[in-house]
């Protein structure tokens, strides 16, 4: 009699499942896609819980008909309690969460601890509910990114993959926190990764969409702000939107500079006071809240009122100024919370102010202040966070109104430009620098990417070497040439590049009468004289690519050829040229590397 079969053979479905799990476990790219969906769903639910819990806590702390003293006591106590917990147990959960996420991506191999996630969730929730004038989106990003990091590490993903999953979690969190899935994708790429063409795009889109669906499943199809339809009353209104861009940009710079200066001041205080510092923020916002309760908390109900055009001009001005002060003090003193939401609040107040004044002066030719408040939100965000594309798309997603796009773009770009001019470092980069961390900002990466080979290349020396030139003649010619390699020209066409060491080796072999064309023909397949196979650059290539190519080929000179005809030599670019273009000038460098 044969022995009975193992139990698994009777369950082909289970066997298939085990096989699939095993395959998934071993194939990281497939696992990443599955994880994007899972992280999207999990982060979406966590962020929804974060928002709802904060709301419930706030309702408990501020019951209807509460006295003015409560508005002073609650944020003060809230900041005291959370300040202690942040200092004692969750030091990495302070502040916004966006620079911390970037630090994790670029410096800590995508590592964010579960303890930080828990700390961020509860400290932020308590802090925001108590009325601290900060936002929930930045913390949500860190919570989402942290969860993605924890899960990826637990599943034993490679460091590269863990790093890749961090922005995936961040995007999912932002999509749920702000109800803007496209802006969340852009923010992750533009701000966190600093690269709109990052290879994680697919995963980020998947997680953002999943998280957004979860949000809709639980909370329904409610936009964050309800905005009435926008109409351009008169083409001259674009001029007012330009003015709004200027005011928004200046307001953004004022806010960023104040926040950074205050934070520097708080950081310079003795370490032993660190746990108590957040109370300064709570006390400041509490004192303001006694007289103007609208300053407390994230302030989205007030934003909604401004968008509906339902706020007096003097209140708008007062709120814009006080919110700048309150947020700067709250953040700088080390409370947990972000600047994402306050940026929108400040922008709405600035926009409402500009719109109210314009409507007062030109009632027939301008829309109500609501439309300006909306555009102001985008302008302030573009000026403070410095992600203009995210800003435009985010406001578009918030309003679901296409007609707002043009004035939005005008104001945003003006605000962005002003902010760039008056504040050299973007805020998240500057905040990280204050902590001694030097992050690569998207802006710098893009600026660096804009430097092209055309701006650094030099024209080839004339007359050039020809294929018939002998080794001896070439060496004699090269004696007064400053480079280590030279183009060999066949008439007007590039034949190849000959290097000094090749000529010197031929000379030692006694081949001084041989034409250099022979040397080029003797090269191994990968280094043939054929111009098409020759390592080269085009004028529109970036200098980063030039450096990469020089490094890969071990050469310090590369020919620059036309895209239309690779045999047409346009110029030469050397390592010195590249360094000079980056502002690194030197009289003499280390000897060039030879193959």
């Amino acid at each position: 009699m044969s022995s009975p079969p193992p139990p698994t053979t009777g369950l082909p479905g289970l066997r298939r499942l085990i096989g699939w799990v095993e395959a998934l476990r071993r194939r990281e790219s497939q696992l990443a896609l599955v994880l994007s969906l899972v992280i999207g769903a999990l982060v979406g639910l966590v962020v929804v819980a974060f928002i709802l819990l904060t709301g419930r806590l706030a309702a408990g702390m501020y019951p209807p008909g509460g006295t003015g003293w409560r508005r002073l006591l609650v944020p003060t106590l809230g900041s005291l309690v959370t300040g202690f917990f942040l200092y004692r147990y969750f030091p990495f959960a302070r502040g916004s969460g966006v620079p911390q996420t970037k630090t994790a991506v670029f410096i800590r191999d995508g590592r964010i601890s579960f303890r930080t996630v828990v700390g961020k969730f509860f400290c932020c929730s308590t802090s925001l509910a108590s009325g601290i004038a900060l936002g929930r989106e930045g913390p949500a990003v860190q919570i989402g990114a942290g969860l993605a990091s924890v899960i990826s590490r637990r599943l034993g993903l490679s460091k590269e993959m863990v790093k890749a999953m961090v922005p995936v979690g961040g995007a999912a969190a932002l999509a749920a926190a702000f109800n803007t899935p496209i802006a969340a994708v852009l923010f992750s790429l533009e701000e966190i990764m600093g690269d709109l063409h990052a290879p994680i795009l697919g995963s980020v889109v998947l997680s953002s969409a999943t998280s957004w669906m979860v949000l809709h499943l639980v909370l329904g199809d409610e936009p964050l702000f309800h905005v009435t339809a926008y109409h351009l009353t008169n083409p001259w209104e674009f001029a007012v939107y330009a003015v709004l861009g200027v005011v928004g940009g200046l307001g953004a710079v004022a806010f960023v500079k104040l926040l950074l200066r205050l934070r520097r001041w708080f950081l310079d205080l003795p370490e032993r006071t660190r746990w108590l510092q957040p109370v300064a923020g709570g006390l400041t916002v509490g004192l303001m809240g006694i007289f103007l309760p609208q300053v407390l908390g994230v302030g989205y109900p007030q934003v909604e009122r401004v968008l509906a055009g339902d706020m007096a001009l003097r209140i708008l001005i007062l709120l814009a100024v006080l919110k700048i002060l309150a947020t700067a003090v709250c953040y700088a003193s080390g409370n947990a919370g972000g600047i994402f939401g306050p940026s929108l609040f400040i922008g709405a107040m600035i926009g409402g102010t500009v719109g109210s004044v314009a409507h007062l002066l030109f009632p027939q030719s301008t829309s109500g202040p609501g439309a300006y408040a909306l555009v102001g939100m985008g302008a302030a965000f573009a000026g403070i966070v410095r992600t203009p594309l995210t800003s435009v798309i985010m406001i578009f997603e918030l309003t679901r109104d296409y007609t707002i796009i043009v004035p939005l773009m005008i104001s945003n770009l003006i605000a962005f430009f002003i902010s760039q001019r008056l504040q050299s470092q973007p805020i998240y980069e500057a905040l990280a620098r204050q902590d001694g961390v030097h992050l690569p900002s998207g802006e710098h990466q893009m600026r660096r990417a804009r430097v092209r080979v055309a701006s650094a290349m030099r024209l080839p020396e004339r007359p050039a070497l020809s294929p018939e030139t002998t080794v001896a003649e070439a060496l004699e010619w090269s004696g007064h040439a400053a480079l280590d390699a030279w183009p060999v020209m066949d008439g007007r066409d590039l034949h190849g590049m000959i290097e000094r060491w090749e000529l010197e080796r031929a000379l030692t072999q006694g081949r001084h009468d041989e034409p250099i064309a022979v040397l080029l023909r003797e090269r191994p397949a990968g280094h043939r004289a054929d111009a098409a196979a020759l390592p080269h650059l085009h004028p529109d290539h970036t200098l980063t690519l030039a450096l990469e190519r020089m490094g890969a080929m071990g050469r310090n000179v590369l020919p620059v050829v036309s895209r239309a005809n690779v045999r047409h030599l346009v110029g030469l670019v050397t390592l010195q040229d590249v360094l000079k273009a980056y502002g690194v000038s030197r009289a003499s460098g280390p000897p060039a590397r030879h193959e």
């Binding site: 790219s29 999990l42 819980a49 419930r56 490679s158 993959m161 890749a164 009435t228």
Partner: protein, 374 residues
Amino acid sequence: MSSAGAAPRSPASAASFVGTFALIFTAIAGLFALDTFLADRERAANRSEARRLLKEGLQLMDRGAMPDAVDRLRSAVSAERENPVYQRALAAALVTAGEWDDAEAVLTERLQHDPLDAEASLLMARALAGEGDTRQAIAFYHRAIYGQWGAGAGGGRIRARFELVDLLASTHDPPELLAELLPLQTEAPTDVRTRKRIARLFIAAGAPTRAIEIFGDVVRRDRHDADGYAGLGEAELQLGNYRSACRHFATAVKLGGDDRPAEARLELCTRVLALDPTQRGLGPVEQHRRSRDLLAATLEAFENCTGPGPHPAQPPLADSARAALARPAPPSPTAGAVEENLDLAERLWRLRTPPCPMSPSGLAADLLLQRLAE
């Protein structure tokens, strides 16, 4: 993910791998339950808060504290945005406060969601009428009349139609007004007050015969209804039956006691009667005297109406009128002289540019010439 595949890694053990996923899915299920619970609590809290704010807002509205009422109702709408009751209450408060633009914005949102919401259409019509956009207001009154009403649909429709006819009466559009009044006459309740209101609107619509029918019925049922007699007088006055009109107005004054409007109408009616040269049984001298009085009253009204600047046709016509009045009355005037005065008066009357201030005699002349011109 292209770069990741090549990176060295030590995958989690199968047990750990499955365990992690099991943990994640458990967390997802738990969080979903928690979120649903929290969301329900949030919605319940919002509903309760919205109800409280609505109650406060309506109380403030009743007290006439409109800014505070608007404030509360706005908060109520924010707390429970999709609730049409709150949206309509807010819109009503905004309309009452005269904040037409804001009311329109709220109602546009509501009507986008439910284009057949008759009550919202009625509020929108009020806002538009308040803003002076009569054409759009009429359109929204029609949407209100033919839209969907909740409880008390009939009352709402009639209210909307009454408001519409009031608007049409104020814009002096008799044909439109009459077109709306005819269905209203059959739909409206049959209490005396409503019937009298409709009858007066028939007068405004230029259908005095229908008004006489209603008022006649009213006074037949109640012989002491002064208002009914005044209405009858008004309708007869419009028909040119001045004698009957005066009789009804006199009855109204008698029954109404200190009824000043009826007294004023009686005085006007008496003046018209005294000015009318076309009444039967008048001798040529009396006819001529009345035609001169009519011409004098018309000239006075004309001068009041045309203002200080010279009218292109003023010198010859006014001069002719003045010359005719300056001539002594002939001892035995002919019919031609009477006709000449009436013709001059009518031509001058046609040149007036109303509205302009009128003396009681000018008003009487205006009324009389209106009938003579028909």
